[in-house]
Symmetry: C3
Subunit: 310 residues, 3 copies
Amino acid sequence: MKLPRLHTLQEIAGIVQCSYAGADDFPITGINEIHQVEQGDIVFVDHPKYYDKALQCAASVIIINKQVDCPEGKALIFSEDPFSTYNQLTKHFSPWALPLENRGHNVIVGKNCIIHPTVVMGNNVTIGDNCIIHPGVVFYNDITLGNDVIVHANCVIGSEAFYYKNRPEGREKMHTVGTVIIEEHVEIGAACTIDRGVSGPTFIGARTKIDNHVHVGHDTVIGKKCLFAAQVGIAGCVKIEDEVILWGQVGVPSDIHIGKGAVVLGQSGITKDLEGGKTYFGSPAEEARSKFRELALIRKLPKAIETLGL
Amino acid sequence: MKLPRLHTLQEIAGIVQCSYAGADDFPITGINEIHQVEQGDIVFVDHPKYYDKALQCAASVIIINKQVDCPEGKALIFSEDPFSTYNQLTKHFSPWALPLENRGHNVIVGKNCIIHPTVVMGNNVTIGDNCIIHPGVVFYNDITLGNDVIVHANCVIGSEAFYYKNRPEGREKMHTVGTVIIEEHVEIGAACTIDRGVSGPTFIGARTKIDNHVHVGHDTVIGKKCLFAAQVGIAGCVKIEDEVILWGQVGVPSDIHIGKGAVVLGQSGITKDLEGGKTYFGSPAEEARSKFRELALIRKLPKAIETLGL
Amino acid sequence: MKLPRLHTLQEIAGIVQCSYAGADDFPITGINEIHQVEQGDIVFVDHPKYYDKALQCAASVIIINKQVDCPEGKALIFSEDPFSTYNQLTKHFSPWALPLENRGHNVIVGKNCIIHPTVVMGNNVTIGDNCIIHPGVVFYNDITLGNDVIVHANCVIGSEAFYYKNRPEGREKMHTVGTVIIEEHVEIGAACTIDRGVSGPTFIGARTKIDNHVHVGHDTVIGKKCLFAAQVGIAGCVKIEDEVILWGQVGVPSDIHIGKGAVVLGQSGITKDLEGGKTYFGSPAEEARSKFRELALIRKLPKAIETLGL
């Protein structure tokens, strides 16, 4: 998320009551998760395994639970619990507020739209021209739809990230402040759920078509002209390139990358990055040709076991 | 779909501005996809592979992108893009119109029904006697329910077919003008989606019981007394006979036929037609007995590989 | 379910017009399914296979379709069709009634809750303090939420059990009279469905976190601090202990027991009870280590089949 105006390091550290390393007037423009950071952003890190990654990433300010040297051109905020400090900041700048009306603040609807009166829209929802939004659809806050988008009945667009920090007393929720961006000519089937990004966007590229009961997790980026059949489940932080086809009930875990034009057959479960231009099958998914060969060989097993006298 | 009155070939060709072969007053009574056609119907074909099938099917008028001889007793409409011409006709006779109220035109509700005020009904919705429709259910247009039907909360009945023509610039949507017909004593669990047929009905036979989160695609025909557990996904154009049981999370791709009384165990993925009266398991699904035997043999693999010194 | 006041055997037998064995004033306090019974309860049994189990269970009164000797300290009600007699009783004491307003009778909401006006609540719904209920959520009757519970948009909490008795003329519905109890700090993702118990509670323990599109069946008991990813399906009468993690699209059939801290990897299908503290994978699910070893061995199959000359 971008801050509403430029803030200084001193101001930000004051909000969370933390000490810091860097000039008082060091400029800060945003707050983001490490997957999404750019210059001017604050990021957090709380595990030694990820210290170097965080200190070297594009972010300008790192909230960290260790007294380390400040990298050139950056600033540090010291916190015993960087996750909480980060959550405190995002809550400060984007306090959660479900509007209790059917239309929140700053809802902008384009020309020639058909939006059923039962549709609920949170704050900061922008709908392009010629969109059709069917009954029972719920938009949370901070959603943008391009032109000619169709959203079918009872979809939920912009629900919160399934993202928790494990604590001894139970899981602590990451405060969701990201967005959903859906480009032009996308169609989303009935009863789908598209979660918002944690701090950046969940993104669906132009002319992608999605069938019923599909789930798309937080911060996932989907290319153009993709086709996802019913009951596909895509976790958070997935990157799917253009023209990918996922057939029914395919499952994609988090942090996976699927190359352009890949086709994944029904019920497949992906466990590693997939190269584009190929067809995959199975759970775990492999290239379909080798998977089908394997299935044919398994049919020879009775004979093999008999031959071996096992 | 049936036309509101008999039309002549000349009238229809005039609507889409196409040349034709056949008598000016050749009678036309409907428009249908090739899976659903009967005498008097218009059908379309745009691929040489399917020319013969379309010219010989039950339809009386074929929209075609080649100058072929007109079969005896039929008529032809010539179009460079039969898919678009067909869509143009269905849009002409059934322009999409989501009513912006909670009750559309021509809604007929039987005796002793309990219908929650949050239920949304499109145009041409007929509900039998003694039906219970729970909160948040959305009926699109052209839905018929028999007597004693129960539909649980947040279901979507009659959403549009997931059916696109692939074009260089992206997928073009097939205009949905079909119906959903649900017979008596059917119960549909919470958050299910039943799509309308493209031009004919999606059909659910009497006394079939469906659990939560089940998806049924366009033009699928389901028999009587079936039982589908939660999260089953059934694609379009599937034919399921009476008394079939699909356990949880089973997936059925399009154009599959499942025989009477077949039982498919949980998470199975069907890839070919299934004979009735048998039990199936696996993804791809096979007869359960042979699949279980195969699984038992796989457990002997370590010994086999060791024996072979591999 | 508990009866609104203590009833006598004579009163109860009078309601269902059945003969009985036991003192006229034998005290009855509840009606429950065999999974849930305690002293004072009525239970039913209609199959010789389960006669002994029912006669020896904790229930005090057994509705049975055979003239057997009455066990010491218990009572019997004789019926040719115990399922119908049982349903007749539950309907008598808890006649189904979907309130036709957005708030039913006896709705109690705690302090500092944010409940969207589109939320529908049946009768006897109790919401704790600091709860957030997003748009489009439907609560059926008899639901209790602890403090600090979040329910995301378009969830259905308390739908009816998918439980039928097979009859020659079709399946007869078990009348649902149970409850849902959700403890404090539970979060439930968008478009989830949690069915009520048949006569007792469906239970979700404190601090359990559930992602989108998850289904939980009737009478299932889920422990504390569990984590269920998107599209997990859990059938009825399942017992899941504390701190269990089920990754995306996992399926759990009815009557399964999963031990504390078990982890089940994505798309796994459980077929037997799972010991706690271990990681499982596959459909059917096995311990992940042995399943991965098996998958590695299968990759050696081509070589093995070649070696054997098959």
